[in-house]
């Protein structure tokens, strides 16, 4: 009886192995082709799922996507004179804030060493004898703060910037999906509006057409451009402009030429979040 049960288990497992080979492996074999494609950026292979080891400072210099275009001839197209003359700003002569005229003893005993504060503006006219800066700044404290903010901002960097890279997926290999490949290249150029009052409401999409060499085949098109650019919400208008600018500034894109049909047309959704 026990032997029979084992036989059934064994049969079931063998059957399932057999069946899975039929159904799944043919597709996987296709994918293996693309996995051998080397992509000349920090992510090296393509796969169905993203799977990236986390990395600290990446020694490899990041290829700069230089946009070298032939200098256009200067079109002497006289722009219409600045149409908006907002207001003829008749700025009143500075009448406010007269210092009270008071005779004052000129000599101000200054206990502190005269450490001259660098004057912010050379042409400033001092209405009264000025006190000197009594003490220099606490540079140590300041620089430690700056360091701290640097560290913090470094932590805020997007994942694929080269210096640091977060792991993704199982974290055991160096593969990425096609969309991750494109995302990693666009994100660098996108100024995200995370500090706007309601970032979740500022989602916009851009339709991109790419040439086989990864350059832009046409000007990127903002989806729903009338609603976005005509919005009364200035943050939304700006989010639309920034999305288009990001796609332009990061071109050309390093994408695997063999799969051109897959990335010839791309819809990029820019979805800022509050963080």
């Amino acid at each position: 009886m026990r032997a029979f049960a084992s036989f059934i288990i064994s049969l079931g497992l063998h059957l399932s192995l057999f069946a899975s080979a039929f159904i799944y492996f043919p597709r996987a074999a296709n994918e293996l082709d693309s996995e051998s494609v080397l992509v000349p950026i920090e992510l090296v292979t393509l796969a169905e799922d993203t799977n990236i080891r986390a990395a600290r400072p990446d020694p490899e210099p990041e290829p700069e996507p230089d946009i070298v275009q032939p200098p256009e001839p200067v079109v002497a197209e006289p722009e219409p004179e600045p149409e908006a003359e907002p207001e003829p700003v008749p700025l009143p002569p500075e009448e406010e804030a007269e210092p009270e005229p008071e005779p004052e003893p000129e000599a101000e005993p200054e206990p502190a060493p005269p450490e001259p504060e660098p004057e912010p503006e050379p042409e400033r006219t001092a209405p009264e004898p000025r006190q000197r800066e009594e003490q220099g700044l606490d540079l140590d404290a300041l620089s430690s703060l700056v360091d701290r903010s640097r560290q913090q901002s470094a932590q805020n960097q997007p994942a694929d910037e080269g210096e640091t890279r977060q792991g993704a997926g199982a974290g055991t290999a160096m593969t990425a999906t096609m969309s991750d490949l494109f995302r990693s290249q666009t994100a660098r150029c996108w100024r995200e509006p995370s500090d706007a009052p309601d970032p979740e409401s500022l989602r916009v999409s851009v339709e991109v057409q790419l040439e086989r060499d990864g350059s832009l085949g046409a000007a990127p098109r903002l989806v729903d451009a009338n609603r976005v650019l005509g919005s009364s919400n200035s943050y939304l208008r700006l989010a639309g402009e920034r999305a288009v600018r990001a796609v332009i500034e990061c071109a050309p894109y390093a994408m695997p030429a063999g799969q051109y049909q897959q990335w010839r047309r791309i819809t990029v959704n820019f979805e800022p979040s509050n963080r």
């Binding site: 722009e79 009594e134 666009t186 100024r191 332009i248 819809t267």
Partner: protein
């Protein structure tokens, strides 16, 4: 039989997975979702404004310098070094060679022109270009008397800031602060100073015969309130910066305040015509509203503890304040008529100095925990986590920029001969920490609204 049933289920799952995989390879566009970008400063090329004669050329360079300094100090822009420029702008009405500007990594380009018309008025025109989309983003001109070139530069800065960030600028503004010094006999002096936001044109507002403290700017016009302190008596004053006239808010006519009463920290209603303040009577502080036209005083809170430091929401509907009614000072909210008082801060330590953001969504505060002072912001409804922007040996008197993007605060640093005070700015993310260019020791900043 059970095994067979499980086997069937397993086979079904494998089939479903394969079907899902094949469904993914459609013929539509690749869909990419970007959720994280960068928050780096925006690279902008600012060319010297061109001019016909030597004087205009000089003014044009000065304007470019002020604009560059303004935008850079905001922390949101990275002006490109002028030495890197390739194209020499000689006519601002021609399209620039965008490729030249993209090469120096400028995402935007500012070109401008300075001229003087027949009446001797200064005319400043400028264009802001998007170098990626190759489009003009903004084209404007301003005129004024030549002495006002600096304010024109601030107006240009504000226009660019607004176009590229979506929020209003804060460059054509002034800041009032308390200058700390010593008199002839070594006695401490506290005098109000007003200066441009970038530190230019400073001048004293008060003399050294009395101490002037805690200025607050009207959100609508060139008026401040401040507290004078003389003969151990604190009195709230209203100071009209345009006329130079100042008046004590409560003279003998207001019996509620006189007779040992002291008033502190009067802040303006968003309409600029009313004040809210804490008044000390019989040893305890309560909050009062005060109408500047009718001179009517209206009591808003009434309890045995101290209610202090009131601040209006930008819509005028609510007031935030500090109170020690539950022991240590904490922050509270109430309707503008004093109803529905409720606590909004629940962290450890002492919460004081609430100041409502002009944007309305946040309240800045000072928190003291042990020997550590912090400047923080919390959501105005008290929800969510508080965010600490700065902490140090001593931190006090937060003040918002008129667009709610930057906070000024007084910072005290320990030194052998006493605490040294200075004013610093920090942005909402806790970045871009900068010292305000004041002369000498300074504290208690107040930021004006945008000038007209």
């Amino acid at each position: 039989m059970r095994f067979l049933a499980r086997l069937a289920a397993l086979l079904g799952m494998i089939t479903a997975l394969a079907a899902a995989a094949s469904a993914q390879s459609g013929d539509g566009p690749l869909v990419v979702t970007v959720t994280e970008g960068n928050v780096d400063p925006f690279p902008i090329a600012i060319t010297d404004f061109i001019g016909e004669d030597a004087e205009s050329v000089e003014t044009g360079a000065d304007i470019a310098r002020v604009v560059t300094n303004n935008l850079e100090s905001s922390g949101l822009f990275a002006p490109v070094d002028q030495d890197a420029f390739i194209e020499d702008i000689s006519n601002i009405d021609l399209r620039p060679r965008f490729a030249d500007w993209r090469l120096v990594n400028a995402s935007a380009l500012l070109v401008g022109r300075v001229s003087v018309d027949e009446q001797g008025r200064l005319l400043v025109a400028f264009r802001l270009w998007d170098t990626a989309a190759e489009q003009q983003l903004l084209g404007m001109q301003f005129t004024s008397v030549p002495e006002n070139w600096r304010r024109l530069a601030h107006k240009v800065s504000d226009a660019i800031y607004e176009r590229l960030t979506g929020e209003s600028g804060f460059f054509d503004t002034r800041i009032v602060y308390v200058s700390e010094g010593e008199g002839p006999e070594g006695e401490p002096t506290r005098r109000l100073v007003i200066m441009d936001q970038d530190g230019a044109n400073p001048s004293f507002l008060t003399d050294r015969s009395y101490m002037a403290l805690l200025p607050n700017y009207s959100p609508t016009n060139q008026q401040i309130t401040y507290v004078s302190f003389r003969d151990l008596q604190a009195t709230s004053y209203l100071y009209d910066l345009q006329t130079g006239r100042q008046e004590a808010l409560f003279d003998g006519s207001n019996a509620a305040i006189t007779g040992g009463g002291q008033s502190l920290s009067a802040r303006f209603h968003p309409n600029g015509r009313e004040l809210v303040m804490s008044v000390e009577r019989r040893g305890r502080h309560d909050l009062y509203g005060f109408d500047l036209r009718t001179r009517a005083l209206r009591q808003l809170t009434n309890n045995p503890s101290d209610d202090t430091e009131p601040t209006y929401s930008p819509d005028g509907e609510q007031i935030a304040f500090a109170s020690n009614r539950s022991g240590q000072p904490q922050l509270y909210l109430m309707n503008a008529d004093g109803s529905e008082q409720r606590r909004i801060s629940f962290g450890e330590g002492r919460y004081t100095s609430p100041v409502w953001s002009p944007r309305g969504d946040l309240i800045a505060f000072i928190k003291q925990q042990g020997s550590m002072f912090s400047l923080g912001v919390m959501r105005a409804d008290g929800s969510g986590e508080e965010r600490i922007l700065y902490d140090g040996y001593f931190v006090d008197t937060p003040a918002w920029s008129p667009n709610g993007r930057i906070l000024l605060f007084t910072r005290g640093d320990y030194s052998a001969n006493g605490t040294r005070y200075s004013i610093w700015s920090v942005d909402l993310g806790g970045f871009n920490l900068r010292r305000l260019p004041t002369q000498g020791a300074a504290s208690d900043a107040a930021w004006s609204p945008l000038l007209d």
